[in-house]
Amino acid sequence: MRHGDDHLRALMLAGLAGDSAAHAALLRTLLPALRGFFRRRLGGRDDDVEDLVQETLIAVHQRRATYDPNRPFGSWLYAIARYKLIDRYRRSGRTTPLEDLPELADEFDFAEASDARADLDRLLDAIPAKQAAVLRATRIEGLSTAEAAERLGLGESDVKVSAHRGIKALADRVRGSWR
């Protein structure tokens, strides 16, 4: 399922206009993303994760007037989640390297992540099928050369060569599309 920023923004705007079904749909859609975000940061303390998820949902609800409709929904949500996370660290007396946190934006931006996946699919479609299959197996799923060779019914050296050629073909295509 793909939830682009436009979709979330549309739900948010409907909620701001008073549509409670859209508002509930928005909050439900955010649940898994927020859980993933806090779980990665808190490392297994699931009670804390759910606490923070709920605090963030409450903030999204109570402070929804602070959303600027002209800006992406994701960055607003992320700023709230990040604040709640830092606040939790601060309260528990733990110092956190704040400068590490901005990079998390990438992890959190599910719209962007799914865009990236779509881009990757498009690129892989454009190179020979065998090379694409080898790259999917070795570089995306993370199989070893031997495992990939067995799954695809190829020789190991064929897998290595195809992966090498596939990467080169991808690089050519990316370079070509940048011009």
Binding site: G18, Q54, R64, T66, Y67, R71, A79, D87
Partner: protein, 213 residues
């Protein structure tokens, strides 16, 4: 409570949010505070007796141009910091303009005045109370801003507190002009600004404590 129940509860009493709700709330907080400050100017300090004729002169308007432009910049910056992903943008650097403008006028004033009178011009009649009064008059306005922030989501609490303090100080100084008969640009540049800076520092100190959510 489990999160699905929470969502159901939150969505059940949903009121529409007007498009400019944030700006209106900032305005409401400022006005509520300014009413208290204006009352203090009238009943505690008293309006300057020559207020009406003074309003026909240039110095009164120079003072107001200085304090009001500072107040607008600081208020705009504060309103932007009310959003979790807000940045002050051009508003903070823009505050250099009124300061520079008034400094130019003060320089011209010095050039026009014999050096023997510089000290008297700088200290005026009220240098000992001016900054303190501006600072005190800022407090109700700052309290009004704090109230409006209760529904906001600032993430840079120190900075939001500081710009809020400066905004309160500059609006407080604007109302103080209704009392203060001083005419020198150098006086305003020093003692008014000092009061505004004091309010900004107070906001910087209190922001991280009072703006948390």
């Amino acid at each position: 409570m489990n999160s699905d129940d929470l969502i159901a509860t939150l969505a059940s009493d949903l009121r529409p949010v007007p498009r400019h709700a944030l700006g209106q709330r900032v305005g409401l907080g400022l006005i509520a505070g300014a009413v208290v400050t204006a009352a203090a100017v009238v009943w505690w300090l008293g309006l300057r007796p020559d207020l009406m004729p003074a309003m026909h002169g240039a110095t009164f308007w120079i003072k107001w141009a200085y304090t009001i432009s500072l107040a607008i910049c600081a208020t705009a910056a504060t309103a932007r910091l009310a959003r979790p992903d807000g940045a002050t943008g051009v508003w903070l650097p823009l505050m250099a303009l009124p300061v520079l403008g008034l400094a130019l006028i003060a320089g011209w004033e010095l050039a026009m005045t014999p050096p023997a009178q510089w000290l008297a011009m700088w200290l005026g009649q009220s240098w000992m109370v001016c900054s303190r009064n501006v600072f005190l008059l800022a407090l109700p306005i700052f309290a009004g801003l704090l109230w409006s922030f209760r529904r906001f989501a600032p993430t840079r609490l120190g900075l939001a507190g500081m710009t809020g303090g400066v905004a309160a100080g500059a609006w407080g100084a604007t109302l103080y002009c209704l009392h203060c008969p001083e005419t020198s640009a150098l006086f305003v540049l020093t003692w008014y600004s000092l009061g505004v800076i004091g309010a900004g520092l107070l906001g910087r100190l209190l922001g991280p404590r009072l703006l948390r959510w």
